[in-house]
Amino acid sequence: MGSVLAATPPPPTPSPGGGGVLGGTGLLSVPPGFSMPPVSPVPPPTSPGQAAGESASPPSNPGTYEECHRKCKEVFPMQMEGVRLVVNKGLSNHFQVSHTITLSSMADSGYRFGATYVGTQQTGPAESFPVLVGDMDNSGSLNAQVIHQLTRTVRSKIAIQTQHHKFVNWQCDMEYRGGNFTSAVTLGNPDILIGSGIIVAHYLQSISPALALGGELVYHRRPGEEGAVTSLIGRYTGSNYVATLTLGGAGAHASYYHRANDQLQLGVEFEGSTQTRETAVSFGYQLDLAKANLLFKGSVDSNLVMGAVLEKKLQPLPLSLALGAFLNQKKNTFQCGFNVTVG
């Protein structure tokens, strides 16, 4: 749902959201909304009022548009296939490097090298700017992002993605965080020669400490055609739950996230698309046994897709093992895989 081109390009090495796998060295952190694999995403403590909703004071900054559904999405397990080995190496407080080897029968096997640099301008206890993230495949595909805080309230990002030698994605966005609202403009794949491009504008306003409303406007233009899609979003944050609803020309997306206790989190999601004329309901849960260094995520779908991922940190080694399996009852297919993360 939402923007045609998400402001966050697909992560180069998809990693389970929520950073459950990564050791979380605490050296580097990237503000959420810019999901990058080698660095554990830490929610910025400097922007309160984001999903916790504890403040009874006047509404504070509601966060970004993309993050409204994120808490629910992070509960769901990620599909794993084949074998993956990830080696993360922190070279200094500012620089981190990762090597990934993937062996897979369905997708391409390969080697990927990623590097992350975090600058010296510190805006908060867990945030530093500028952030440069790069990722290169053994076939030459590149993913690169530069995130920088231009002023106290304006943050900007440039993202580029290539497939072999062709540029697939190039976008630039600017985000302004006011006292109780956030607005962002993204320019995607602008091509002056052909006269095509996509512009996405987001706006999210905190009405009350718990309620945030906003909208999105996507305008795309190609030689010969142009169009626009609008969506409205509403998010209500309770003491231990978050309910979000997005309605627009492209369809509807509703999600509910509930934190039952320290260990159990649930998510329910409903998606309907006007383009494909399909709806899907998913239920997911996450069980976090910190004492056993275990994280278990399970999900059931209305398309009869069941999946589960088990992640375990093998103390005392800096090793993390993830086992996952997905079963599609309707199509009678089955996929399983495991990941090993070192460092």
Binding site: E81, V83, S105, S109, L323, T333, F334, Q335, C336, G337
Partner: protein
């Protein structure tokens, strides 16, 4: 296994029998590497060489078993004779299945064969049956019957009689005798302990169909060193050579070479097994001349009576990968 199946149409059977071939207790004399080597007996006489099928077993046990998909096994010991196990297998390449396995076998603490018959049966969710029975007719004579069906059709029905002398073994097997089609496969095995450490023997396979008949003779030899075993089978049907070496308490290595005149192919494999009893872990890896690389890790999850199996096999030539996970409870 023996060449009986290699000649018959079934050939390499499509579905493996649990995860192991018939348990080693049937075929090999207990080989305890920590005590004096098995070829030495107190009275100086030569020991029984075991059965023909078990010649290459010590090398084959080092190699990892191919696992695919997710397998969940629940083993339940009902009494000292009776054991049942349920297996649920979810697989990406073959249809998922449930398998029920039952064993009637008296397991003594010494591991010696007792007089009670051994009956093993396994049934699939698609109706395929696999049944083995082993009877001790007398102290030296054993009879075995094997039945295998693929859903409703009988694929293998095999009867074997084995005589274990003091320093030799002789066995006769009749496989798939079919009176209506006038076809049968007869196999005769002989193994003789020639001197301490050396075992020589042979196998004669005679197959007869309605329109053809033929025989194949294979000679076998095995030499056992203090911590190694070298075996060679050679005949008109091909050659099979294996070398097993126990480097220390933790590492075992096996090298195997197979050549077949029927398929005109040769394969060389190298495998190793690493045991870390302190970590409750066993790792088996293998490397093939067909560019197949595989590894399987088995870990006993200590306070729970459960074992976790993780394995992957990569075929570089065909660019295929198979990943498997297994949990065994009980």
């Amino acid at each position: 296994m023996g060449s009986v199946l290699a000649l018959s149409g079934a050939g390499r059977q499509n579905w493996p029998f649990s995860s192991e071939t018939p348990p080693p207790q049937w075929d090999t004399p207990p080989a305890y590497w920590d005590t004096p080597p098995r070829w030495e007996r107190r009275d100086g006489r030569l020991p029984n060489p075991g059965s023909f099928h078990a010649l290459h077993r010590s090398c084959k046990d080092v190699f990892p078993q191919q696992i695919e998909g997710v397998k969940m096994t629940v083993n339940k010991t009902l009494s000292s004779f009776f054991k049942a196990s349920h297996t649920l297998h979810l697989s990406a390449v073959s249809p998922s299945q449930y398998r029920f396995h039952v064993e009637h076998r008296h397991v003594d603490s010494h591991g010696k064969d007792s007089d009670s018959p051994v009956l093993i049966g396994e049934m699939d969710s698609s109706g395929s049956l696999n049944a083995h029975s082993l009877l001790h007719l007398s102290e030296r004579v054993r009879a075995k019957a094997v039945f295998q069906t693929q859903q409703a059709q009988f694929v293998t029905w095999q009867f074997e009689a084995e005589y274990r002398g003091s320093d030799f073994t002789a066995a006769v097997t009749m496989a798939n005798p079919d009176i209506l089609r006038e076809s049968v496969i007869l196999v005769a095995h002989v193994l003789q302990s020639v001197c301490s450490g050396l075992v020589l023997g042979g196998e004669l396979v005679y197959h007869r169909g309605r329109h053809d008949e033929g025989g194949i003779l294979t000679l076998a030899g095995q030499y056992t060193g203090p911590n190694w075993v070298a075996t060679l089978n050679a005949g008109k049907g091909g050659a099979h050579a294996s070398y097993y070496h126990r480097a220390n308490k933790q590492i075992q290595v096996g090298v195997e070479f197979e050549a077949s005149t029927r398929t005109q192919e040769t394969t060389a494999s190298f495998g190793y097994q690493m045991e870390l009893p302190e970590a409750n872990m066993v790792f088996r890896g293998m490397l093939n001349s067909r560019c197949i690389i595989g590894g399987v890790l088995e870990k006993r999850l200590s306070p729970l009576p459960a074992t976790l199996l993780m394995g992957a096999f990569v075929n570089h030539r065909g660019d295929k990968l198979q990943v498997g996970l297994g949990v065994s409870v009980g």
